[in-house]
């Protein structure tokens, strides 16, 4: 197995800063903005972007929710076993809000498609943007593109991108695994 680091702790931290700045630049007024992280892996990323955005804008109240998409997946009954859902936690109305949907790795685009369906069941937002930490180019199965991208990478199908968040936030990193066929 071959492991390559795409973003080490420092680079990742800078990328998160930049993403927060980009959201800040595009929105300025945060009364109607809400971050919505996709369960399970978008949540850790969303929490960090949310923290940075609060500091940056000086706003204490920026909405942040977690959305589970298990019931909206398109591979239900097409795989072995059942996926156990995670918590959805949206304690605000998304009606008329500007939503930033957050996930860690954008690959086929199917998760985002499910995420949009799940989100729209809660109301009609003014608009929806997509933020991803890693955009795997040339692997899309649906026409989905991000508005905010941490890093764009070109990887082949049998390689896997993994985002690791450490508990004390001191050793976060993004790595690329490639399974060698023996």
């Amino acid at each position: 197995m071959d492991i390559r680091t795409l973003l080490d702790h420092t680079a990742l931290s800078q990328t998160l800063d930049r993403l927060a700045y980009q959201i800040y630049e595009r929105h300025l007024d945060f009364e109607d903005v809400a971050l919505v992280s996709l369960q399970p892996r978008g949540v850790e990323l969303g929490r960090r972007v949310h923290e940075r955005l609060k500091k940056l804008s000086g706003e204490e109240m920026i909405h942040h929710g977690e959305l589970d998409i298990t019931f909206y997946r398109d591979d239900f009954r097409r795989r072995d076993g059942v996926l156990v859902p995670a918590k959805t936690n949206l304690d605000f109305s998304i009606e008329g809000k500007e939503i930033v949907l957050i996930d860690d790795v954008l690959f086929t685009g199917r998760t985002v498609r499910s995420g949009l369906d799940a989100l729209l069941d809660f109301g009609r937002p003014a608009n929806v943007e997509l933020l991803v930490l890693i955009d795997r180019r040339y692997s899309r199965e649906l026409p989905v593109q991000p508005d905010y991208t941490g890093r764009t990478v070109d990887v082949v199908k049998d390689e896997r991108v993994q985002v690791e968040w450490s508990e004390n936030d001191k050793n976060n990193r993004v790595t690329l695994f490639s399974e060698q066929n023996d």
Binding site: D68, T70, F71, Y72, F76, R77, R78, R79, D80, G81, V82, L83, V84, P85, A86, K87, T88, D117, A118, D121, F122, G123
Partner: protein, 311 residues
């Protein structure tokens, strides 16, 4: 990724504690779904479910149908009174005919105990028991335990009393299996004529005196007297039954109980097994049971339908 240990839900007796916990965990999520503005998810949109009822039912059928529709499944309903069962068709033939129309799951209620087990051996689809005679009613037991857990937390060591017509009750038997698996202690109480013979062999103590039993328990589950199933006279009059086994606030105070949880699987006969006041009191979780019924049934359908390896 997890799955239930079974392809069917025939009874609580055959499922494991892990299964029960998985159903509860999934039901938590569906409970959140049914409290949303749009109470529907598309999970089962390519699944067709037949509700086959050989016996009358209002709330169970309604609850299952609602659960199926909130999962976006296609639903067909079938009741024995309007079917060819009257024309002499066998159970396996009836269900095979329904399945030939590309139905994926069957929810069935049947007056004969074990009808589901027989059917599961002969047809190739998931079968969910919505009550078979006086045998089992698994989803009712699951929603009872789930509602109880919501009110009191862990059920381990909890003392639960089931009162009334135990002999004709499928709710009682499923409840016993489910609550014991979750670590609770269950006892039953009622007129000796309405207690089945081998109750003790399940580890369930029989108490004939309601006042003493009430003193013992933390939770009381009041069952209805099933007049329609009573072929002979099991007790002199309803009035006498109410005096001996009816739950009222006066009785509760008389035995010195300050706190208790009151459950009832419905339909309630107000003024018979329970006073109107108690049914609507702060002790009662009867309406929570009804609400949770939909979430529990959604969880069971979702978990049974979702495993592609068993399709």
């Amino acid at each position: 990724m997890t799955s239930l240990s079974t392809k069917h839900l025939l009874g609580i007796k055959d499922i494991t504690l892990e299964d029960i916990n998985l159903i509860f965990q999934t039901a938590d999520n569906f409970k959140e779904v049914i409290n949303r503005p749009i109470k529907k998810v598309p999970s089962l949109r390519d699944v067709t479910i037949a509700n086959v009822f050989f016996e009358n039912s209002t709330r169970t059928k309604l609850s299952f149908e609602l659960a199926e529709k909130r999962l976006s499944a296609d639903v067909i309903n079938f009741s024995a009174s309007s079917s060819s069962v009257k024309k002499g068709e066998s159970l396996v033939d009836t269900v095979s005919n329904i399945l030939a129309m590309k139905v994926d799951m069957v929810v069935m209620r049947h007056p004969n105990p074990g009808a589901h087990i027989h059917l599961a051996r002969h047809v190739d689809c998931s079968i969910i028991n919505a009550g078979d005679g006086a045998h089992e009613h698994p989803t009712q037991a699951l929603l009872d335990a789930y509602s109880l857990r919501e009110r009191v937390g862990d059920l381990k060591g909890l003392k639960i009393l089931i009162v009334g017509d135990i002999l004709h009750s499928r709710v009682a038997l499923s409840n016993v299996f489910c609550l014991q698996k979750l670590g609770a202690e269950v006892r039953v109480c009622g007129p000796a004529t309405l207690i089945p013979k081998h109750m003790e062999s399940l580890g369930v103590k029989v108490m004939l005196n309601f006042e003493e039993a009430l003193k013992w328990c933390d939770v009381v589950n009041m069952l209805r007297i099933q007049m329609e199933r009573q072929d002979i006279q099991y007790f002199p009059t309803l009035r006498e039954y109410t005096m001996q086994y009816g739950l009222s606030r006066e009785l509760l105070y008389k035995v010195g109980k300050k706190d208790i949880v009151v459950m009832h699987p419905g339909p309630i006969n107000r003024g018979v097994e329970i006073t109107s006041d108690m049914a609507d009191s702060e002790f009662s979780i009867i309406l929570d049971q009804v609400e949770n019924g939909v979430a529990i049934r959604m969880a069971v359908l979702y978990l049974l339908a979702g495993d592609a390896s068993s399709n």
